[in-house]
């Protein structure tokens, strides 16, 4: 079931299309990464979906028909740089925004306690936000996005500014949240997208240049390159390598052989068997990391 349909969404600033006629649908219960280099239009897209800025052109429709007037009721939004009222405590802030989202004071307080527990800030409940660290603010930011049990959670660069520990915490949290909500988050870090998302939407210069299931994109990328080097080149090495059926291309660069193969597991076994049988003086055997990284660069440079 689709939760949101975005059709030809465009935002123009100073005659430049920051977001350029993008269309996509978000399926309910999925975790989708909005991926792209800095300046691709990720934040602008999210802000339009959060109802914070108006689109120049195009439509955003939620499935709850009669409620579409104000998206903000069922969207929880974490800005890229969350800023709070520094003079409030974490608990006070959550209760405050909870009440703004039409919870009663009592409901908001209960929910705030629940969320502080979830994001691991229970011990800092009464501390002024001004004293929070960056990672704590990010977690509080996620908590405030969840306060009114939104159908869609949108997180703008939730982990980019964090240290490895903070990043790990947030990713684990997102994995938790994924179980019962739809998440749309933006990132320019591929690893994060790979780790938690089911689908990606790749943006560049305001346009969608690729979208789909992360596994599908992986399988398109199934050709792998293996770097091989010998202390002394054996005779007919090129020919022998090319004879192996899973190998489809061999090149030699600076004394190193770049062997492109289709199925890594089979190819690796066949290659190693050959080297052992022939007793070739192998000095290097490295499977190059082809992952979304290459795909990303290729797609962005297209």
């Amino acid at each position: 079931m689709s939760l949101i349909t975005v059709d030809n969404l465009t935002k123009t600033y100073d005659k430049k299309d920051v977001v350029d006629h993008i269309s996509f649908t978000l399926e309910s219960g999925k975790c989708v990464a909005l991926l792209g280099p800095n300046g691709a239009g990720k934040t602008t897209t999210l802000r339009m979906l959060a109802g914070f800025i108006k689109a120049t052109e195009g439509t955003i429709s939620f499935d709850e028909d009669e409620l579409t007037k104000d998206f903000r009721k069922f969207v929880g939004y974490l800005p890229q740089f969350p800023v709070f009222h520094r003079w409030m405590s974490g608990f006070e802030f959550l209760v405050y925004v909870g009440q703004l989202a039409d919870l009663s004071k009592k409901e908001a307080e209960e929910r705030a306690d629940e969320l502080l527990e979830l994001v691991n800030l229970k011990d800092f409940k009464k501390m002024r936000i001004g004293k929070y660290s960056g990672g704590m603010k990010q977690r509080l930011g996620i908590a405030q996005a969840l306060i009114h049990r939104p159908k869609l959670i949108m997180l703008d660069e939730p982990v980019s500014a964090l240290d490895p520990i903070g990043r790990r915490e947030i990713l684990n949290l997102m994995r938790e949240l994924k179980k019962d909500a739809t998440i749309l988050f933006s990132t320019h870090i591929l690893n994060d997208a790979e780790e938690v998302s089911d689908e990606i939407i790749l943006l560049n210069n305001g346009k969608v240049i690729e979208k789909g299931n992360i596994n599908d994109i992986h399988s398109e990328q199934e050709t792998v390159t293996i770097h091989i080097a010998f202390s002394e080149d054996p005779k007919f090495v090129m020919e022998r390598l090319k004879e192996i059926e899973s190998v489809f291309q061999v090149t030699n660069e600076r004394g190193e052989y770049q062997v492109s193969v289709h199925q890594l597991l089979i190819a690796r076994k066949q290659l190693l068997d050959l080297f052992q049988k022939e007793n070739w003086p192998l000095t290097k055997f490295e499977v190059a990391k082809t992952s979304l990284e290459d795909f990303f660069i290729k797609a962005v440079n297209k």
Binding site: F52, R72, P79, L100, A101, D102
Partner: protein
């Protein structure tokens, strides 16, 4: 409901940043400073000396009403500045820091947002003006002679509408500009400009909101409710309301970069 939540938050914020304490204190100082120094001026000059032998001067003692008028003169200049300064960042600062984005990502109505802020500052201004005028009344009665308490308090209520009109100008500028300092500066410039215009055309603009201060003084002197006073106060209220509507509309339409 939402308005109450936001209004309470504003009150709490102004409590935690001590505006509830320093604004009334500064207003009290402004209100009592001139009557007291005027009263003690002959004695101060006597003590300090430096006057030629045998020099005689007499400073006419102001009437109680005139002494209260001195309080308004101070509040009319420095008090206006304080109104601009306390409210200069109320929206502009939140937009600049980014808290605005966090708050407005919840289903918050723009009108509630503006009104909660206006109401919270109105309350501070009203309270500060009332307590400062009570202080003024106390010292004036002590030093210059009797003046009706009720007259002073009613005049303070009228005067409040003048300050609220200025507050609404600050609120509009808050929605247009990102820099709190610029908001305060422009508010002062606008008030000065409006004052000059009103002075030049004072015979036609008797109902101008800026004339509230003049008419309040007249009320203080003879206690009569003139049509000019009622007229200018009414116009001040109408303009304040209009400016708040304008501020709401600006905020609604403003595209954020």
């Amino acid at each position: 409901m939402q308005f109450q939540v936001m209004f309470k938050k504003e009150l709490l914020e102004n409590w935690r940043n001590f505006k509830w304490i320093w604004v009334p204190i500064v207003f009290i100082i402004l209100a009592i400073m001139d009557p007291i120094t005027t009263y003690y001026l002959p004695r101060i000059l006597e003590t300090v000396g430096g006057l030629p032998e045998g020099a005689v001067f007499s400073i006419p003692m102001p009437s109680p009403a005139e002494a209260v008028g001195m309080s308004y003169a101070q509040i009319g200049s420095i008090g206006v500045l304080i109104v601009a300064v306390i409210s200069m960042g109320t929206i502009a600062g939140e937009i600049r820091s980014g808290v605005y984005e966090m708050i407005l990502s919840k289903p918050v109505s723009y009108a509630n947002y503006i009104m909660s802020k206006f109401s919270a500052y109105s309350l501070i201004i009203l309270l500060s003006l009332i307590v400062s005028m009570i202080a003024s009344w106390y010292y004036v009665s002590l030093l210059f002679g009797d003046i009706a308490f009720s007259t002073v308090i009613v005049s303070a209520v009228f005067y409040t509408f003048y300050l609220l009109f200025i507050l609404s100008i600050t609120v509009v500028l808050n929605t247009l500009l990102k820099s709190p300092g610029l908001v305060a500066f422009l508010t002062i410039i606008i008030v000065i400009a409006l004052n000059i215009i009103t002075d030049i055309f004072s015979h036609v603009l008797t109902w101008s909101p800026l004339m509230v201060s003049n008419h309040t003084l007249a009320f203080l002197y003879d206690g009569s409710l003139t049509s000019e006073l009622i007229g200018s106060v009414s116009l001040a209220i109408i303009f304040t309301a209009l400016l708040l509507v304008v501020a709401t509309m600006i905020l609604q339409r403003r595209a954020f970069d």
